[in-house]
C-alpha cells in the first residue's frame, strides 16, 4: 500500500487537512489506479449510506415516547422539581432546535456534496454519457420512460456551450437526468430532479456558489430542481443556468 492509498479513506471521509485534500485531489486526477479505487470506495460509501437507513420507528412507538417525555414534569413531586424539569425541558428544546437547524444545514450540504461526487464520478468514468449526441432533440426523448418527468433543453446555436450527451443519475434513490455540456475545455453537469424528491430546502442561488471548489447554481422551476455544477468560471455556470431557465 503506497503513501496515497493509505490516505484514501480519510480523504473520502473528509478528514484530511485542507492542504492534504488538495494534494490528494491532484494525485487522484493523474493516477488512474487511485481514481478507480476512489470510485469503488465512494460507491460503497454511498450504498452503505442509503442501505443503512433501514428502520423506522412505528407511529405508536413515536407517540408513546412523546407522551412519556411530556408526562415527566407532571409527575415531579415537588415545586423545585417542576422548576428543574422545566429548565431541563427548555434546555433540551433549545438543543433540539439548534440540532435541527444544524441537521437541515448538513442535509443541504450532503445533497450538494453528493452532486459534486456524481459530477466527479461522471468525469472519471470511461463512458461518461449513455446517450451521446449534440442534438437536444435526440437527448431529450432518450430520457422518456427512464425518468418520471420531462424537461426542456435550450437552443445553443448562438452560445459557446455544446451538448455532449446525457445519462440517468440517482440522488437519494430517485432517478433524474444528468446532462453534460462543454464550454472550451470545461465539462459541466446539469442535474434535473423532481423538486419534492430531492427533499431538502435548497433554496435558489442568485449567485453561483462554491461546492468542493466547483461552481454551482441551483433553482426550482415548474416543480423540477436544477443543479448546474462544474469547474468552469462562475460566469459560465451562470450563463448556462440562464439558458436553461429560458429553454422553450
Amino acid at each position: 500500500m503506497d503513501h496515497w492509498t493509505a490516505k484514501l479513506e480519510t480523504y473520502l471521509d473528509g478528514e484530511l487537512s485542507a492542504s492534504e485534500m488538495r494534494d490528494l485531489d491532484a494525485h487522484v486526477r493523474s493516477c488512474p489506479s487511485c481514481a478507480a479505487d476512489v470510485l469503488s470506495r465512494l460507491q460503497l460509501k454511498r450504498a452503505v449510506h442509503s442501505a443503512g437507513k433501514r428502520y423506522s420507528p412505528s407511529p405508536d412507538f413515536r407517540e408513546r415516547i412523546r407522551k412519556s417525555i411530556k408526562a415527566k414534569p407532571e409527575r415531579a413531586p415537588m415545586r423545585l422539581w417542576l422548576g428543574a424539569s422545566a429548565a431541563v425541558a427548555l434546555l433540551l428544546m433549545v438543543t433540539f432546535v439548534a440540532i435541527s437547524a444544524r441537521q437541515q444545514q448538513l442535509l443541504r450540504q450532503h445533497t450538494l456534496s453528493e452532486l459534486a461526487d456524481l459530477h466527479v464520478a461522471t468525469l472519471a468514468s470511461a463512458n461518461p454519457v449513455d446517450v451521446i449526441s449534440t442534438d437536444r432533440h435526440t437527448v431529450k426523448p432518450w430520457f422518456q420512460g427512464k425518468i418520471p418527468f420531462t424537461f426542456n433543453l435550450p437552443e445553443l446555436q448562438n452560445s459557446e456551450f455544446s451538448l455532449i450527451g446525457g445519462r440517468v443519475a440517482y440522488l437519494g434513490q430517485t432517478s433524474g437526468a444528468e446532462l453534460i455540456y462543454q464550454i472550451r475545455k470545461h465539462q459541466i453537469s446539469v442535474f434535473v430532479f423532481q423538486d419534492r424528491a430531492v427533499g431538502s430546502d435548497l433554496g435558489s442561488t442568485s449567485q453561483p456558489r462554491k461546492e468542493l471548489s466547483f461552481n454551482l447554481e441551483s433553482w426550482n422551476q415548474d416543480g423540477l430542481r436544477y443543479f448546474v455544477i462544474g469547474d468552469a468560471s462562475a460566469e459560465d455556470i451562470r450563463s448556462l443556468a440562464e439558458l436553461l431557465k429560458k429553454a422553450p
Partner: protein
C-alpha cells in the same frame, strides 16, 4: 424529537429486533432526561445521546451476547488497503441493497456500529471517538477494518446470490 428516528434506526441495527430496539430507545430517553445534569454544555449532544444508547445496548442481554466473542485482530494494526476489488467486482445498485444490508448485518457489532456512525450518521472521527469512547487513532483503524470486513462479506453475499 429530532434524533428520534436516527436513534431508532441505530438501535434496530444493533439489536436486530423491533421490540428490543424500542426498549433501547425508550431507556435512552429516560436516562438522558434523568442524567441531563451530567451533560456538559459545549460538548457534543448527539455523541452523548448515542453513547447512552450504545452503553444501554452493551449491557443488555443481546448486547452482552453479541460482544461475548472478542475478535483477535488488534485495532492498532496498520490500516488496510481496499484489496483487489475494483468497481467491476463490487457493483452496487438499488437492487442489491438487500445484499448489502445482509452484509452489514453479518458484521460483528463493533464493525457494524462504527460503519453506521460514519456512513449513515455521517459523524466526524471526533464524534465517533466520543460516542464509542475510543481514541481517534482507533477510530481510523477500526473503520478501515470494518470496511474491509464489509467488502469481504459483500463478496460472499454476491457469490451466494
Amino acid at each position: 424529537m429530532p434524533l428520534f428516528d436516527q436513534l431508532y434506526n441505530f438501535a434496530h441495527w444493533l439489536a436486530q429486533d423491533r421490540t428490543e430496539a424500542e426498549d433501547l430507545v425508550q431507556e435512552t430517553y429516560v436516562k438522558a432526561l434523568k442524567g441531563f445534569s451530567s451533560f456538559q454544555a459545549g460538548t457534543n449532544f448527539r455523541a452523548w445521546m448515542y453513547r447512552i444508547l450504545r452503553n444501554t445496548f452493551l449491557t443488555s442481554r443481546t448486547g452482552l451476547k453479541a460482544t461475548a466473542t472478542v475478535e483477535l485482530d488488534s485495532d492498532d494494526s496498520p490500516e488496510l488497503s481496499a484489496g483487489p476489488e475494483t468497481p467491476e467486482t463490487i457493483l452496487i445498485d438499488n437492487s442489491q441493497h438487500q445484499l448489502l444490508q445482509s452484509a452489514i448485518e453479518s458484521l460483528p457489532v463493533r464493525f457494524r456500529e462504527i460503519l453506521l456512525l460514519c456512513e449513515v450518521e455521517e459523524m466526524s472521527y471526533q464524534e465517533i471517538a466520543e460516542t464509542l469512547s475510543i481514541p481517534m487513532g482507533t477510530v481510523m483503524s477500526r473503520l478501515s477494518r470494518a470496511r474491509k470486513a464489509l467488502r469481504e462479506s459483500l463478496q460472499q453475499q454476491l457469490v451466494k446470490a
